[in-house]
């Protein structure tokens, strides 16, 4: 028998059934808002942009969520998903009570247990791991600010290892590349000064469909003002539709295009010579490096005509330094992603746009002393060396390496906490590894609001209440203007769910680590923090958002000399650090994997504005807006595969992996050699009653993982798929 069989929660005895509630015969039809309306401030958690807004409850019933006009992340306007946040609260499929894996009559199932039973089990297992393997052998997978509470408990215990898929499956290479070049990363919210840009270059970044609210607002403000938009994308994205130049590039050849842009900027003397001379090092090496990469050479690689490459380079230079070559967010594509992001960083320097209006601005947050906590125990080993020593440049935990380090009898990690991260849908190629790791781990705790696939591997499932029912850490993100924002529960927790801070505190107390949570309610810690800067929890629960004046300039002063946080103190066009670690010190173009024999299309995926990855497909409001994804293909491809618009197909990759059935969308808006699908669909779980079986999952089709040798991130654009028409198409 398997140590851990995968269990779907719907197989659980005693799972509560929800009767639909219908109101009939109600005659009075008052207008919205005529009743008694109660409002509370909230930080949206439907994505991780954390817009600040207000929840309105009318006559005790959830009504709506709106943006706070003082909030720079939303400017008073929530996005599609934020406006539908109540669906996260009302979803009847939510996790409802703690569950423990038990074996009865030779079969494993989840048994509803009390919180005390769940905590006792976890504490016992953690102490056993400590005794047998050491206190540093647990780790945390986390996405979202609530993970901080569990990080605290594990740090206190002596297990500081922490990873977020938002590094190795998303922004990692970008942060590494900018840190190598400028000594600091782009951060989130991204420090892009788009509302002041006169030219914006998007490389595969589909702003608008990728709906990070404040960022989309500043981008569209640039569109409104008539900035020159240059969009490089195999698909005619929404952004491409608002662009002066759409460059439908051959997938995977972006570095070739950027080398040619550098060639034009340098050889036509269009670069910012004063900026480069003042701030940068390695220009001579760069100039020599890009000489072979003419627009004519790039044409052969990218399919973009030389005159278009020249014209766009000149337009970028004309608008400089107010030219933003956007760094993207999900940038783990072809395994040379750090180098592609380095190319963006170098182009930015040539245009003199880092630290300049319309390029990248200097961010600032509110300076608050840390809440006083005990010193953590010194770990016996260094998890970075043990788990990801082969990626010394990586600044953060590499999620797939954490999984690898959990497989086998002598694995480094023996226990996992997984907070709000559905790993199987997030990290490519880990389905089997998750099953293996779950056999070898001594403890696997999942904390989430919904029964996503990862819960099937858990020993213990802890139901967290949604962001609308809990206190979360306050927001103090670096931004244009420093500001603080808080989230206050609008509702009592539904079912037997609990806030993350309470769960983490209870576990700590079971481990005699209660002094890491030295209060009864998390609001006391928030109040302490707020009082350090002249505010209070009482004030913040009234106003939600508080702005503070900037202490530092937003841009470099003209002619100002300054030092960067690189080893040379300069902007490093040529990276000695990369050279020292055996990597190319300047970006080099490597051709992407070539198409297999037969009829195959590039598998490209991306975002849809109605959803946050797989986390919202089951949200009743968002499901209604977009219940399943479609596969975009060009009419030529439709003819090749003999499929028509609206027909269901299965996708099969070059390794024989097949997807769920998914509907075809035949459109001119894509290259004939590529397909596109929105990420996050294709849940196969009866526990998600709406999302189950709807649409196809791109992640399962990604088997050719192109690991970035610098950042350790997982490139996900190495697969090709063929289309298999469904016989009985709806």
């Amino acid at each position: 028998m398997k140590r851990r069989e995968f269990i779907q929660l719907s197989a659980t005895a005693g799972a509560a059934a929800m009767a639909p509630l219908t109101l009939t015969g109600c005659k009075a039809r008052p207008l919205p808002g005529e009743g008694e309306v109660v409002q509370t401030p909230v930080l949206c958690n439907v994505c991780f942009w954390r817009c600040a807004g207000t929840v309105s409850v009318e006559n005790g019933q959830p009504w709506k969520i709106e943006g706070n006009p003082d909030d720079l992340h939303s400017n008073g306007r929530f996005c599609t998903r934020g406006d539908a946040g109540l669906g996260m609260y009302t979803d009847p499929d939510r996790l409802k009570q703690p569950m423990l894996r038990v074996t009865e009559n030779g079969r494993q199932r989840f048994k509803p247990v009390s919180w005390d039973e769940a905590f006792d089990y976890i504490a016992e297992k953690m102490n056993k791991i400590k005794e047998e393997h050491g206190q540093d052998r647990l780790c945390l997978f986390s996405h979202g600010s609530g993970g901080n509470f569990f990080r605290r408990t594990l740090r206190a215990f002596g297990s500081p290892a922490y990873t977020a898929p938002s590094y190795a499956q998303c922004r990692g290479p970008r942060e590494v590349a900018f840190a190598l070049t400028y000594g600091e990363g782009v951060g989130s919210p991204d420090r892009t000064d788009m509302e002041n840009s006169r030219c914006i270059v998007l490389i595969g970044s589909h702003l608008g469909e990728n709906l990070h609210n404040g960022q989309v607002q500043t981008w569209i403000e640039a569109v409104r003002k008539g900035a020159t938009m240059i969009t490089v994308d195999p698909r005619f994205s929404v952004a491409a539709g608002k662009s002066k130049h759409w460059l439908p590039i051959k997938p995977g050849t972006d570095i070739a295009l950027m080398l040619a842009w550098m060639n034009v900027l340098i050889n036509e003397n269009l670069y910012d010579a004063d900026y480069i001379a003042r701030y940068a090092s390695g220009f001579d090496e760069l100039k020599a490096h890009v000489q072979p990469y003419t627009p004519e050479w790039a044409y052969g690689q990218t399919g973009i005509r030389p005159d278009v490459i020249r014209t766009t380079a000149r337009e970028m230079a004309m608008a400089a330094p107010a030219t933003l070559v956007h760094p993207g967010r999900h940038v783990t594509w072809y395994g040379d992603d750090t180098q592609r992001e380095r190319a963006i960083a170098i182009l930015t320097a040539l245009l003199g746009a880092w630290g300049r209006e319309g390029g990248y601005y200097e961010q600032e947050n509110v300076s608050i002393p840390s809440f006083p906590l005990p010193d953590p125990p010194a770990p016996a080993t260094n998890w970075r060396d043990e788990v990801q020593g082969d990626f010394p440049v990586a600044p953060s935990g590499i999620s797939q390496k954490f999984i690898d380090a959990s497989i086998g009898e002598d694995a480094y990690f023996k226990g996992w906490f997984v907070y709000s991260s559905n790993l199987g849908h997030t990290i490519p190629g880990v389905t089997e590894k998750l099953a293996q790791a779950s056999q070898d781990l001594d403890l696997l705790v999942v904390v989430d609001t919904m029964p996503y696939g990862i819960t099937g591997y858990a020993d213990v499932i802890l139901p967290e209440c949604t962001y609308l029912e809990r206190l979360d850490p306050m927001r103090n993100s670096p931004e244009r203007e420093p500001s603080l924002a808080v989230s206050v529960p609008a509702f009592e927790p539904k079912y037997d769910s609990k806030p993350g801070w309470w769960i983490a505190k209870q576990i700590a107390e079971r481990l005699d680590l209660g002094d890491w949570f030295p209060w009864d309610d998390y609001s006391e810690e928030l109040d302490w923090q707020l009082r350090q800067v002249g505010s209070s929890f009482e004030e913040m629960r009234r106003i939600g958002v508080k702005k503070f004046p900037r202490q530092t300039p937003k841009y470099f002063a003209p002619g100002e000399n300054r030092s960067f946080r690189t080893s040379s103190g300069k902007i490093e066009l040529y990276s000695q650090m990369l050279a020292d670690f055996g990597h190319d010190p300047l970006p080099v173009f490597t051709p992407p994997p070539s198409k297999p024999e037969g009829e195959f299309l590039h598998l490209n995926y991306g975002r849809a504005p109605a959803h946050t990855f797989g986390r919202t497909i089951n949200n009743p409001q968002l499901f209604e807006l977009m219940p399943e994804n479609t596969v975009w293909i060009h009419p030529v491809a439709a003819s090749t595969f003999q499929v028509s618009n609206g027909q269901y197909v299965r996708l099969k990759n070059q390794d024989g992996v097949e997807s769920n059935a998914v509907r075809v969308r035949v459109t001119e808006r894509i290259r004939p050699d590529s397909l596109f699908m929105a990420h996050g669909f294709g849940h196969n779980s009866a526990d998600l009653s709406l999302a189950n079986g709807r649409g196809a999952d791109d992640q399962g089709l990604i088997t050719r993982i192109l690991v970035d040798p610098i950042a350790g991130s997982t490139g996900m654009r190495g697969n090709f798929v063929t289309l298999i028409p469904e016989e009985a198409s709806a």
Binding site: R29, E66, G67, R77, D83, L211, N213, E624, M626, R669
Partner: protein
């Protein structure tokens, strides 16, 4: 008649559907029904393409065929304006207005009466924009009085190329699209 108009900039609309969600939550529209929706219209062939997104709804026509078609006077104009509303208590659900609407903007509620976009007159009364306009993250939607030459909607229509849908019907629709 005071003419309220909505002016939507298709150059800025990203088709995100936020207007749909904002309308549904503000007005407590039940699951499965919508008072507004988003249309994507792509023209041209690869790679010379143009995509237009339009947030569509009742056009609050100044010559509303739905109102003329209603046999029970359930469809009426709100307080001397062009805002067309339905009184659920007078509506018999006969569907004549649905047939008469060139925009397919009317829907039948589960209880049997006809409903539609109200331009959020309950918000307009308080000096607020309709929920869709107020929440749009691209700020591409505008609302105001067309008879005031200084209103944002008047100024946008005076300075920008625009169109309305199905003007050939003579209904005089009051939702405009900047193109």
């Amino acid at each position: 008649m005071i003419r309220y108009a909505m002016v939507i900039d298709t150059k800025l609309c990203i088709g995100c559907g936020d207007c749909v969600v904002a309308c549904k939550t503000e007005n407590k529209v039940p699951a499965g029904l919508n008072r507004d929706w988003v249309v994507e219209a792509t023209t041209g062939t690869y790679p010379d393409l143009k995509t237009e997104f339009r947030s569509e709804r009742c056009n609050h026509c100044t010559k509303p065929t739905c109102l003329y078609a209603c046999p029970t006077a359930a469809t009426y104009r709100w307080e001397g304006t062009n805002i067309v509303l339905v009184d659920p208590d007078k509506c018999t659900g006969c569907g004549a207005c649905i047939a008469a609407c060139p925009y397919d903007a009317r829907l039948i509620m589960n209880e049997g009466y006809v409903s539609k976009c109200t331009f959020c007159h309950h918000r307009v009364e308080q000096g607020l924009d309709p929920a869709c306009v107020a929440s749009c993250p691209t700020n591409c939607m505008h609302f105001g009085v067309l008879d005031d030459p200084n209103s944002t909607v008047s100024r946008l229509l005076a300075t920008r190329e625009h169109k309305a849908m199905h003007e050939e019907t003579g209904n005089e629709p009051q939702v405009y699209y900047l193109t």
